[in-house]
Symmetry: C2
Subunit: 186 residues, 2 copies
DNA sequence: GTAATCATGTAAGTAGTTACATGATTCG
DNA sequence: CGAATCATGTAACTACTTACATGATTAC
């Protein structure tokens, strides 16, 4: 089965695999939890859903909506699930790295140390907040599996995998911000 | 001083702040070390340099080149250094997160566990190699400052800041890949 | 009654990638 | 002598963002 859709297409499939949704709902959830690792706006989601439906990876069900248009509920077809599962095991394409904070750190020697320190401490607080947030969500998800075991085929298995990464990421980033701020202090 | 250039513009300023370069050299170094946190291709660098020069942040010196065109060596003006230093202390714009591996992890419950495990172990090796690479570079940079102290205004201060982050990042990512692979094994 | 939410869609613009064309020099 | 490297530049394309237009329902 050869499928050529952009990574965004698979991101949408991944979200819809958990249950049918409208384009509007997808755009909202592309904040969280999808937004933790892939973000998109409605303007991009809308045409991509059409392509996925045309490729037979999504089904559409129309229902009367609140506005001038019908509401369109998307769900993943069997072909869509197959394509998603196969894509998951393919090596990721080397993505361009874009980390603005790291770029600022690289150029921090051109800045006033006190001002740079302020930015780093503010960023540290941001990471501290996200770390706490992720830990709460992790507890909640783990709590819904009283035996402590989450099967490989349970959607929560994916959520927990990403949560665990997010927690390590925020902790690392937090430590780094505080370390660099301290360096600028001497 | 109000400057409106894209983040790529500041990335180029950050690289040129260490010393004059041609567009070709910039495109090559946008692999490493710049590429560790910001990447760009020649096709994008070329027009951006023109904009920066027009804005007075860069100076150009023409020299006879090997090909049909003159070689153009860019260097940062005083205004450019000022703009860069100020930009460093501004909070980063909330960038869209795009992490394909994490997206795959989120959807890993739709895949064959054995196949997914293979991908994760391959990724782990990749991170292990990068970790070793960064540690070597860090030793080299630290070695060039025998007193163990790097002043805030030394370009190496920025390099060491990003290297330290990179090392933590790769270690975290490596651990996570191995953890998830082990989870899929049970 | 007005603001927020739900929900669709279009269009214009920016950012970034890929591919092409040119041609001298250096290395094997 | 052919391949890789140095070095410029253009054009077409894809991906993504922002802004706009429409309008019903719900909450305050």
């Amino acid at each position: 089965m050869r499928v050529s859709t952009s990574t965004l297409g698979f991101a949408l499939l991944a979200l819809l695999a958990k249950g049918p949704k409208t384009a509007y709902e997808l755009a909202r959830r592309a904040n969280r939890p999808l937004g933790y690792f892939w973000s998109a706006r409605y303007g991009q989601i809308h045409p991509q859903l059409r392509l996925l439906a045309e490729a037979g990876l999504l089904e559409v069900e129309a229902a009367p909506g609140p506005g001038p248009h019908d509401k369109r509920i998307f769900s993943v077809t069997e072909a869509g699930m197959g394509a998603l599962g196969e894509w998951v095991c393919q090596p990721p394409r080397a993505e361009p790295t874009r980390d603005e904070m790291l770029l600022k750190a690289y150029a921090v020697w051109t800045a006033r140390p006190a001002a740079a320190r302020g930015l780093l401490l503010a960023q540290a607080e941001l990471h501290r907040a996200r770390l706490a947030e992720y830990e709460v969500i992790q507890e909640r998800v783990l709590g819904s599996h009283p035996d402590g075991q989450v099967p490989h085929r349970d959607p929560d298995f994916g959520s927990l995998a990403t949560l665990r990464y997010g927690i390590g990421y925020e902790r690392n980033r937090l430590d780094w911000c505080e370390w660099l701020a301290a360096q600028l202090d001497t």
